[in-house]
């Protein structure tokens, strides 16, 4: 039972705060995406859909549709996808290795995983400049990919590990007793049990990778710009807030749509388990 007084005392202040500093700014952003850039970082009328046309490739200057913008959006998706896949390749077996150690060793390995997890993101990305510069790889797309995998792999391993920890290994023994070959036994008895952690890990890797501008800004350079860089540029040098708003809204919409689809398939608890 929730009375108005109780609401005001517990849920009220926090909800109000999120309303003012999260929902209202998102609405301001939506509004700005239909306005016009009047000057550097200045916004005014008239209302227009031009920014949204630009997002999908319309070039107002030459009055034609180009693929440039779509190429950036597509690159953001596949770079995020590829770095997520590489994180799975590196991290999924690692989670099993850690989970199968004795208590002391397991604790040590987990600490060794948490240290990079909590080390400042910017510093960890920056460190790759020192390594890759002698090989003339900065700036490049390879460097961006490496930096992303490096930055996100701890975020992937931890949720997978917590799923692997809970595995009921008797199911594997049962599958083996019933004569399943190793791969089939793994796929039917073990893999499904790791699925919640795997999905959480993929989302925790893919979503930040899709929106990042730091990694590609430091390691990638202008030729490998991602949607995050495009957004950053509109709020920096280009000073085109309406266009930047449309891009940001698209990015946010894509992420929320994906999560909504996931929550629908995983049931309402899906999102809560994620965090």
């Amino acid at each position: 039972m929730l009375t108005v007084r109780r609401f005001l005392a517990t849920l009220g202040p926090g909800t109000l705060w999120l309303g003012v500093f999260l929902i209202v700014p998102a609405l301001v952003m939506l509004g700005y995406s239909f306005l016009t850039r009047t000057d550097l970082a200045q916004v005014g009328g008239p209302w227009t859909v031009e920014n949204w046309e630009r997002v999908f490739g319309y070039d107002a200057l030459f009055q034609e549709w180009t693929a440039d913008n779509l190429r950036v959006l597509w690159r953001s998706v596949w770079v995020a996808g590829l770095s997520t896949a590489l994180c799975v390749l590196m991290g999924y077996p690692l989670a099993f290795y850690i989970a199968r150690q004795g208590a002391r060793r397991k604790n040590l390995l987990l600490i060794l995983l948490i240290i990079p997890f909590w080390t400042n993101f910017l510093i960890r990305v920056y460190a790759w400049i020192l390594i890759l510069r002698p090989f003339d790889l900065v700036p490049s797309l390879t460097a961006t990919l490496l930096g992303m995998v490096y930055a996100f792999v701890p975020f992937f391993v931890l949720p997978v590990y917590s799923s692997v920890e809970k595995i009921d290994w008797r199911l594997l023994e049962a599958a083996q007793d019933l004569g399943a070959p190793p791969l089939r036994a793994f796929m039917t008895a073990v893999f499904p049990q790791t699925l919640p952690g795997l999905i959480a890990g993929v989302l925790l890797t893919f979503i930040p990778a899709l929106g990042t501008f730091v990694v590609s800004d430091i390691l990638g350079g202008a030729k490998t710009a991602l949607v995050g860089n495009l957004i950053q540029n509109q709020f920096g040098q280009a000073g085109d807030w309406p266009y930047g708003s449309a891009l940001s809204f698209l990015l946010m919409g894509a992420v929320l749509l994906g999560l909504w689809a996931y929550a629908r398939t995983a049931g309402h608890k899906g999102l809560e388990e994620l965090v």
Binding site: M1, R6, F7, T10, L11, P13, G14, W17, L18, L22, I23, V24, P25, A26, V28, M29, M90, G91, P93, L94, F96, Y97, I98, Q101, G102, L109, I111, L112, I114, I115, P116, W118, T119, N120, F121, L122, R124, Y126, A127, I129, I131, R133, Y150, I207, L210, G211, T212, F213, V214, I231, Q232, F235, G244, S248, F249, L251, L256, H268, E272, V275
Partner: protein, 269 residues
């Protein structure tokens, strides 16, 4: 239980750990490099560390980082704990919507949160200017932004801590004659406390670590350590930034090892 692991799995694990630690080790090593331009090794020196503390912008950014982290953690811990308790205590028709609202700051890309707050502040600023007020203080804009993402983490941590307990606890305390306030301070709060502390610790660390949201909301003339590192890195690799990074890595390692030693359950009672 210890199970056999395939040798290939062990090798792979060591490869991944080497990958995780190679950059950190290189960074620390290069912070002792005598070369000003840092590309090649020219000799061992410790001079970049004192040079770092001689920089007033570094000292200032450090102070800002700690101030923001402390104040935002205090505010968000109070607000987030109340939300977490409310979610636990009351049955709500809007529960799903409220959980969705709380998850939002965690799942939306930080660049989106940063730029939307930037525009929101500019919007509010122009409104206030019409009234003759000014609102141009990086401390406040960053503080409000940090609290916004911290509230979510604190409230979800507190709620999950209380998840196993039912409202009977509070009812029992009431039946035994405790007042509403007393049952809250003597029953509910002690149960929630580990969650509150864990949430506060998480909020503090997230504030220290945040670059993206701070970058967009700080405006000119106010920077925290991550923003300072970014602007320096954009200008090129400098040995004192290597030293600063190495120090921050050291702080992280010490904090994690210490909290692990403190929080680990004792073997003997």
């Amino acid at each position: 239980m210890i199970r056999r692991t395939h040798p290939a799995l062990s090798v792979w694990a060591w490869v991944v750990y080497a990958f995780l630690y190679l950059p950190i080790i290189v960074l620390v090593v290069f912070s002792f490099n005598d070369s000003r331009f840092g590309a090649t090794w020219t000799g061992f020196t410790t001079r970049w560390y004192p040079a770092l503390f001689a920089r007033s912008d570094v000292r200032e950014a450090l102070a800002h980082t700690l101030e923001i982290a402390l104040v935002s953690t205090l505010v968000s811990t109070v607000l987030g704990t109340l939300v977490g308790l409310g979610l636990w205590r009351y049955t709500l028709r809007l529960r799903t919507a409220l959980t969705g609202l709380l998850v939002l700051p965690i799942v939306i890309p930080d660049v989106v949160m940063g730029v939307s707050l930037l525009m929101f502040y500019s919007f509010v600023r122009s409104g206030l200017e019409r009234l003759g007020w000014t609102f141009d203080n990086g401390f406040w804009t960053v503080l409000l932004a940090h609290v916004t993402f911290q509230i979510s983490y604190v409230s979800l941590t507190v709620r999950s801590r209380l998840a196993g307990y039912g409202p009977e606890l509070e009812e029992a305390a009431r039946d035994l004659g405790a007042t509403g306030l007393r049952s809250f301070t003597h029953v509910v709060l002690p149960l929630a406390l580990p969650g509150v502390l864990a949430g506060a610790l998480l909020a503090f660390t997230l504030s220290l670590d945040d670059f993206v949201v701070t970058y967009f909301t700080s405006g000119s003339g106010f920077s925290t350590l991550p923003v300072l590192i970014y602007t320096n890195v954009k200008r090129g690799v400098t040995p004192d930034i290597n030293a600063l990074s190495a120090l921050l890595v050291l702080v992280t390692v010490v904090a994690i090892v210490a909290s692990n030693a403190l929080l680990r359950p004792r073997r003997q009672a």
